[in-house]
């Protein structure tokens, strides 16, 4: 029976990839992802992981190498952050539309300029449309568990799509916390070998990444969209199976003390944990508030979100990214769009905070909730509220 060990989350990710027996790791180092790839390089060098470690010359090359690796049916892993994710941007679309199962942990980092190595979600939000399955983790254990699930989901015959597991830079990646690593036997049972149905094989030649003239492009994109949406079913099945096997259950949207709440806060990533403490405090003081934590970002869990807010009157959304000149927070604008369709009349107040590694304390969350309630009552001339800016 394995017990919890105190380890750095980045190192734990490396251990998860080792347990998953990845075949190819092609990566380029970038703060704050470096400890993941350094540990993996050590594991490969020490013979503890039988994999090909490709130290490529840039993130663009890393993802390109991953395309090739996944195309021949190898279990493929990479990791990046911030500017690195942006550098591989064009290749991300190719990975998903070529239906290649690649698993990537993205250590969420703010985008320059000014240069920031600290955490926020701007890098993740910039890749919303790339067609990858995207999961946000709240703590170290969730990252480890979801890396294992990611391989299973990505390589499933019904999915065959790349998966990103997002974790907050520094606040998760560099944190020493108690981690429970499953045993190798359990992982082997949970993760069957990768069997890509149409790999590049000289004995059975295929052509990948062909031209798509106007006559056919729309059909290819619709096929891709239907596939990503249907992947949700597989994600739920895998999470259920993971829960039954390892005892930790994950769902697309988590409700924390939010049943029948009048006021709800929505967060994503490690801020959710601090927010939970704030909710506890406010409830102990008699406030009717709850928390929704969004875990599955793509495919977007429309049903679960609509279900979670069905009884609320006020929804306060905290974004850790800013869409300049637009509706403010990307998550908030997507939630608004999802709820507009359902005809649900709900006061939604968007906040943008925690940019570039700025912490939000328990008191900060209380302030956000109180201000959000106030705005829901008196209105605001602004599209969204920026939290914590010194004026």
């Amino acid at each position: 029976m394995p017990s919890k060990i105190g380890m750095e989350v980045s190192v734990a990710i490396g251990e998860a990839v080792r347990l998953a027996n990845a075949d190819v790791i092609a990566a380029y180092p970038i703060t704050p992802q470096t400890h993941i790839v350094e540990h993996l390089a050590e594991l490969v060098a020490d013979g503890k992981l039988d994999a090909e470690f490709m130290p490529v010359e840039s993130e663009h090359s890393a993802m390109s190498a991953c395309l090739g690796s996944a195309a021949v049916g190898a279990r493929t892993f990479t990791a990046t952050a911030g500017q690195g994710l942006e550098l591989m941007h064009e290749v991300l679309y190719i990975a998903s539309s070529m239906r290649l199962p690649i698993v990537m942990t993205v250590v969420n980092r703010a985008l320059s300029a000014p240069l920031s190595v600290w955490g926020d979600h701007s890098d993740a939000m910039a890749v919303r449309d790339t067609g990858w399955i995207q999961i946000f983790a709240e703590n170290g254990q969730e990252v480890v568990d979801n890396v294992l699930c990611a391989f299973r989901i990505a390589e499933d015959r019904r999915v065959l799509l790349p998966v990103m597991v997002h974790l907050d830079g520094f606040h998760l990646s560099h944190m020493i916390e108690p981690i429970l690593l499953p045993e190798q036997g359990e992982v082997d049972q949970f993760l069957p070998p990768n069997q890509y149905p149409l790999p590049l094989d000289p004995n059975k030649p295929v052509t990948m990444g062909d031209f798509g003239p106007p006559a056919i492009y729309t059909e290819t994109k619709w096929a891709q969209e239907v596939n990503l949406r249907q992947a949700k079913e597989v994600i739920l099945q895998v999470w259920n199976e993971f829960g039954d096997t390892f005892g930790r259950h994950y769902t697309p949207v988590e409700c924390y003390r939010c049943e029948d709440c009048r006021v709800l806060l929505l967060t994503m990533g490690s801020f959710s944990e601090t927010a939970m403490s704030a909710i506890d405090k406010m409830r102990s003081e008699g406030n009717d508030v709850g928390l929704i934590r969004l875990r599955l970002w793509r495919p977007f869990p429309f049903d679960e979100i609509r279900q979670a807010v069905r009884n609320a009157e006020v929804l306060i959304v905290l974004d850790r990214a800013l869409s300049f000149g637009g509706p403010g927070g990307p998550v908030c604008s997507e939630i608004k769009s999802a709820l507009y369709q359902s005809g649900r009349k709900l006061k939604i107040v968007g906040f943008v905070g925690g940019l570039g590694g700025r912490d939000i304390s328990i008191a900060g969350f209380e302030e956000i909730i109180n201000r959000g309630i106030e705005i829901s009552e008196v209105g605001s001339p602004h599209e969204f509220e920026i939290f914590g800016v010194r004026e």
């Binding site: 060990i5 703060t31 704050p32 606040h171 020493i176 916390e177 944990e273």
Partner: protein, 215 residues
């Protein structure tokens, strides 16, 4: 021992603790210089607590760093509740100072809780420290530099000081640290363990200054 008792009172149901999940939470801030191993000591302490089945976390002040620059590391230990706060520790219960030279350039007691304690690597007496740096909280002192020089051959005090922290707070059993130290240091482990033990023996804990009692 007054400081020890007051610290214990801090842990269990202190009237200051209004937030439910921090009633059993201890927050520690380490002060060191880049390259002195402050982050390592924080990690070792957290790992030992996890080894004892407690909840713990450790992390450095985030960002690019360089040798010699003042750095901070943080530890949170909870006896029975998962720790959800990931922000930096701004109101520590315990402050650890690896390098006495930092006292004149960093306000190490910033945010220190009322019943908090400063664990200090120093050769000076409590009276001197209180006068020179205006520290009125409980103090735990040990000459870690000498211990480190004698047992490790270098004035790197990070592992030595963990012994002092344990002595001052009794947060974990000293033995729990040995496992994480052995895993981390391999052939240098035993010497580091000796240094820890010696600091544990030699640390002097001084309660609040006379004029602070009763506040």
């Amino acid at each position: 021992m007054r400081a020890f008792e007051s610290l214990q009172g801090r842990f269990y149901g202190d009237e200051e603790a209004i937030v439910i999940d921090t009633a059993q939470l201890v927050e520690i801030r380490w002060h060191g210089r880049g390259g002195q191993g402050a982050v390592t000591s924080a990690e070792l302490l957290a790992q030992a607590a996890i080894y004892e089945d407690k909840y713990a976390q450790a992390f450095p002040s985030f960002g690019p760093e360089r040798r010699g620059a003042p750095v901070q590391a943080f530890v949170r230990i909870s006896h029975n509740q998962p720790i959800r706060n990931r922000a930096g520790v701004t109101q520590p219960d315990v402050v650890v100072v690896l390098d006495p030279g930092l006292l004149s350039i960093v306000d190490v007691t910033s945010g220190l809780k009322k019943n908090g304690i400063v664990v200090l690597n120093t050769t000076k007496q409590a009276e001197q420290i209180r006068q020179e740096f205006g520290i009125s909280s409980a103090l735990a002192m040990v000459d870690a530099t000498t211990i480190a020089r004698e047992l490790l051959g270098v004035p790197i005090t990070n592992t030595t000081m963990i012994g002092a922290v344990v002595r001052a707070t009794e947060l974990i059993k000293l033995e729990s640290l040995f496992e994480s130290v052995r895993r981390r240091f391999a052939r240098l482990a035993e010497r580091n363990i000796e240094a820890m033990k010696r600091a544990y023996e030699e640390t002097v804990v001084e309660e609040l200054a006379i004029d602070q009692i009763g506040r």
